[in-house]
Symmetry: C3
Subunit: 209 residues, 3 copies
Amino acid sequence: MGFSLLPREHQFFDLFDKMADASVDAARLFKQFAAEGTFDEAANEKMRAIEHLCDDITHEIIDKLNRTFITPFDREDIYALAHRFDSVVDIIHAITKRLLLYNLHNSVSKDLIRFSELIEQSVKSLAAAVRGLRNLKNVKIISEACIEINRLENLGDQLRDETIGKLFDNSFDPLYIIKWKDIFQDAERALDQCEDVANVIESIMVKQA
Amino acid sequence: MGFSLLPREHQFFDLFDKMADASVDAARLFKQFAAEGTFDEAANEKMRAIEHLCDDITHEIIDKLNRTFITPFDREDIYALAHRFDSVVDIIHAITKRLLLYNLHNSVSKDLIRFSELIEQSVKSLAAAVRGLRNLKNVKIISEACIEINRLENLGDQLRDETIGKLFDNSFDPLYIIKWKDIFQDAERALDQCEDVANVIESIMVKQA
Amino acid sequence: MGFSLLPREHQFFDLFDKMADASVDAARLFKQFAAEGTFDEAANEKMRAIEHLCDDITHEIIDKLNRTFITPFDREDIYALAHRFDSVVDIIHAITKRLLLYNLHNSVSKDLIRFSELIEQSVKSLAAAVRGLRNLKNVKIISEACIEINRLENLGDQLRDETIGKLFDNSFDPLYIIKWKDIFQDAERALDQCEDVANVIESIMVKQA
């Protein structure tokens, strides 16, 4: 009987793997848009498609949770992991939309490029941690990925402080400052959100210890 | 013995029902103030009274939790539900106060009216979901209410983006923009907070599945 | 056997006591910098040192959690308590950095002094609550500390509203308003964060009730 339940457990990991793939796609696209300075309607559309895919995966995970008796971790932890992971792509999409909304979609900002690189690295580490959950023997891989996500969040804090400091030093246009300050704060929030997911993963590991 | 414990469980649901009623009152008043453009001292006072009522209900729930052995759900979930539900009225009150504080209390804003309608719908769905918890056979009602809260939160995101975009397009007065941007962001946070409570409810359902 | 496990449990409390001491140090320093108007590089350096100490303590707690079988509370609650407590000093440090970044480090603001006093009181109450966890017979001390933290958070909300209202009434310089608004909002967030930790503590108490 234990045997027949195993395939169902695998389905959860398969869905989280799909979410990991989609998140890495979103982060990679974001970096590309930042490098090219092309946060236009087409870019926004591509990001929206990935966000919808992640929403669908999240609903599928919760649906499966409601119909499955045995789960690889505590049910509420799978729920929390799905929801918070989903928020990572939500924020990346939100920044993309905001750049369009603020008419900043054609600007190339070196600072935004640096943020997009940190975000991509963090999302890749997150994907590695989530994929590692399939086998708790991967504790070292997971733990190292979480430390890396933490390190990148600290770098993001510094970068946000530095870029916002520069905004006030180099501009006297309040609307320009308000807009870019929002963008850089959101970019830092994307790194916070990755750390938030890493915290859920660490909390799952701690329970199993 | 099971019988004698039942009345105590009912008391939790009675308190959550009271909280649901108070939240619907707050959302209805907020919609009325928005329609009339009367966020004055009197309006603020009415909202403060509802907020204090909700604080009292929350404390009563936690107090009961500390003196009751058998609870309808996990103790920490009742605690989380009470706290986060309480935050919904907190935010509605905070927006009311802020409009007064920013000297915007006599303006009629079509966008704020639209927000107030979304908030009222979301709070009503939330009330339906919370009332449904009394009987877990209501799983369909609860689940549909949570989906509706989610849908309204998405509409709120779009409305916030649209209204803030318009602010930057139509005004060059930074102070005007700063003030209304805060108001619209807070309004969207009210919808976020409803979704946050819906997530606690979904998480409770998932545990019981 | 129960006896031989006790020393390990004590280690968790010892670490939380260290965190409490460091947080009180940070809050006291912050009040001093505010009173003197000296948020300079040296002040920032002192605060950073305390923040790093708290990071180290947090990692030690999580590390111990991964190597200890019996814990005084649910493992995930110790994890949550460590993480959220750590965030209190993070925010106090963030405000310190921001004042330097915004070139406000030599200003003396009566409102910031009032905030720094509320923050110190709240952190002291938090330290009392956390120290109380060592013996659950301290339920009254813990509960009173949590009520006090809640009261201070409410005062902080009022103070933030009042100070931001004054900013808009007394200044027409958008950059000045943007900067100080950020500072006062962050200061209020420090009080929110203390309340967040108090909520984790209350939730632990509720489970044990």
